[in-house]
């Protein structure tokens, strides 16, 4: 059964309510185990009653993370290919009615920017684009993957959901991972936020990771976008989704993000209480770690420096650095300072941590962690003749 069929049968609303009013006794029971084994356990850990026990949870999270990942932080860089989009999403800078300069960068420019990112140290790339059947066609993405693979041993995609057949072509070209933010697991919110375009089909999006897995993708990145609906509800649903994927896509590595709404063109403002505070973000991360000791947890440049510095020690395993969210944005970067020379009006959202990859790496090492740039080899995804060339 696909997750779109499972979700309506789950008591997510009830669990979210429990997450809002679990008792301290419930919380202490889970903390005593050191692990969250069920959705109820997880819900208790994100409750207000667990907040006074955050320090304890952080230590448990750190210990679990170190045991499974060591003292390491894996680095990756997003590369925005296009901000063309046929969808209308109330919160997104790329929403089709927003008046921003639209561009899809040519393959050659994608390769040049990938080379720039490789010079900064990155060996793991995330290709990002809006959803547009004409500009961001499958053939274009496949070509970008093919030409970037000799430079970047690990390539993943974050694009509009597509079919198994299309994913298979990307996997065949050497793409190993996929990220799909569900945005919201709450059907009414999902419908209200996505007012036009293929993205309105919530079920199709819910099953995207399963289709990508079927096509051969080995790393599945997932998250709601926090700020659209009550965060505890979204987090419980995300955990239910991840538990489902662990059974149906058992050979894939799960990667969980914690994206909080950032200011973007369009001016969408989250409701109070829908998005987590910094403390609640840390609480959520600890709860994820205590539920999924082996899942990658990603902390991107959406978070400000002080928060990211703290997350290194608590349980994040993957981080981006110096990200441009504008297609072609890196072309305008100064390679020494790794800062844009001019403002980037076509960006998807404005990043909160603009430190360069070098500055991030130095921060991570100062905290006694190793920076892992390369943790995948293209020989896993390429046939031998291709790898030899």
């Amino acid at each position: 059964m696909k997750f779109s069929e499972v979700l309506p049968t789950l008591p997510i609303g009830k669990l979210a309510a429990y997450a809002a009013d679990a008792s301290e006794r419930d919380v202490l029971k889970v903390i005593a185990k050191g692990r969250a084994e069920t959705l109820e356990d997880f819900a208790a850990l994100i409750s207000p009653a667990a907040a006074p026990h955050l320090e304890e949870m952080a230590h448990l999270s750190q210990a679990l993370t170190q045991r499974n990942f060591g003292r390491t932080i894996h680095m990756f860089a997003p590369l925005y290919l296009s901000n063309e989009c046929v969808n209308k999403c109330k919160y997104c800078g790329f929403s089709r009615d927003n008046e921003i300069p639209r561009v899809t960068i040519p393959v050659a420019q994608a390769v040049r920017e990938t080379e720039m990112l490789a010079r900064q140290g990155f060996r793991s790339l995330l290709l990002v684009a809006g959803e547009h059947p004409k500009w961001v066609s499958n053939g274009y993405v496949v070509e970008v993957i093919r030409q970037c693979l000799p430079i970047m041993p690990s390539i993943a995609i974050e694009l509009g959901p597509t079919t198994v057949a299309n994913y298979a072509k990307m996997a065949e070209a050497g793409c190993e991972g996929i990220v799909v933010y569900q945005e919201s697991y709450h059907p009414e919110t999902y419908a209200a936020m996505h007012t036009a375009g293929p993205k309105r089909n919530m079920a199709f999006r819910l099953d995207t990771l399963e289709r990508a897995y079927e096509a051969g993708m080995r790393r599945l990145g997932m998250s709601p976008l926090y700020g659209l609906y009550e965060w505890r509800h979204e987090a419980v649903a995300l955990v239910a989704h991840a538990m489902h994927l662990m059974k149906t896509c058992w050979r894939a590595e799960l990667s969980i993000g914690l994206p909080r709404m950032r200011p973007a063109t369009g001016g969408f403002a989250p409701k109070m209480g829908d998005v987590m505070s910094d403390r609640q973000t840390v609480q959520l991360l600890c709860a994820f770690r205590m539920t999924f000791p082996r899942a990658d947890i990603t902390a991107t440049t959406r978070e400000r420096p002080a928060v990211r510095d703290g997350l290194v020690l608590i349980g994040a395993t993957h981080m981006s650095a110096g990200a441009s969210t504008e297609p072609g944005g890196y072309s305008d970067y100064d390679e020494t300072t790794w800062r844009p020379r001019t403002p980037q009006p076509g960006e998807q959202f404005h990043i909160a941590d603009d430190r360069s990859p070098r500055e991030m790496a130095a921060m991570i090492r100062r905290q006694g962690y190793e920076v892992v740039w390369k943790d995948f080899d293209r020989s896993f995804v390429e046939r031998e003749e291709a790898a030899a060339s």
Binding site: R71, W250, R251, D377, F380, A387
Partner: protein, 263 residues
């Protein structure tokens, strides 16, 4: 003091019976110091972390911290999900100039990192035929261990408990069978979280243990590495000295016979 017998794998002699993994360290330097303190002669490296191309990569330099005159570098295929991928990555390590030894690790199940027995046997068969010295990481399955020896593997490496759990030797009964039947060295790999676990594996008659997480994530990896070295040595010495059998019941003892008056 009598020295322990050395460990011999595929005709190569190792003075230490402690093998060390190189993942999860806080830095290359920390890893290098811990390796030295462990006294090991064999260090495994995940090839996915290394640069295997013709040019050096300063951002994937894990191999630079493993001193080649001190250790045999044992590339491992971690990250491979099936036999094809494992074979491919082994080939690449050979092209990169590493010895034709490989720790075969195929664990598609990313949550428990348990090895796939079917793909492991397939890959072992291919690599042995190509002339590789193959050290397969397996679940503690005695029949699989025999099948791998039949195809020519140089060791078998059953897991004590799942990677990274530090739970020690949970598969004791099965590992004892593997040891009893073995024609090649048995290396207990994974789950060894404390020197006492390592000592226990050695006392059971394992030929070596492989330790990574417990050393790498210790507060002081160098001291932990020496602690493991000592434990492995003690456990082996005890095994060679001949441990007395353990029994739940009181046993007849020759020193104070109780029934001699009947003779």
């Amino acid at each position: 003091m009598t020295q322990n017998e050395p460990l011999i794998i595929a005709g190569r002699t190792f003075q230490s019976r402690l093998l060390v993994g190189t993942g999860k360290f806080s830095s290359g330097e920390a890893m290098r110091e811990a390796l030295r303190a462990s006294g090991t002669g064999l260090a495994t490296v995940a090839l996915k972390r290394a640069s295997l191309g013709p040019t050096k990569d300063a951002f994937a330099d894990i191999l630079d911290f493993i001193e080649p005159d001190r250790y045999l570098v044992l590339p491992n295929t971690s990250g491979a999900r099936d036999a094809d991928e494992a074979v491919r990555i082994a080939h690449l390590s050979e092209k990169a100039g590493l010895p034709k030894w490989v720790k075969l690790e195929i664990h598609p199940d990313v949550n428990y990192l348990l090895p796939d027995p079917i793909e492991t046997l397939k890959a072992a068969e291919i690599l042995v035929k190509e002339g590789w010295t193959v050290l397969p990481y397996i679940n503690a399955d005695p029949v699989l261990a025999m099948r791998l020896q039949d195809v020519g593997c140089a060791t078998v490496m059953p897991l004590g408990s799942p990677i990274g759990t530090n739970r020690g030797i949970e598969n004791e009964a099965q590992i004892r069978i593997i040891i009893a039947q073995a024609r090649v060295p048995v290396v207990v790999d994974a789950g060894i979280g404390a020197p006492s676990h390592a000592a226990k594996a050695m006392e059971m008659g394992a030929d070596a243990v492989l330790v990574n997480t417990a050393i790498a994530v210790a507060r002081d990896p160098v001291r932990m590495a020496s602690a493991f070295a000592a434990a492995v040595e003690c456990g082996r010495a005890a095994f060679e000295a001949g441990l007395p059998p353990v029994s739940a019941n009181a046993k007849a003892s020759a020193t104070s016979p109780l029934t001699a008056f009947l003779d």
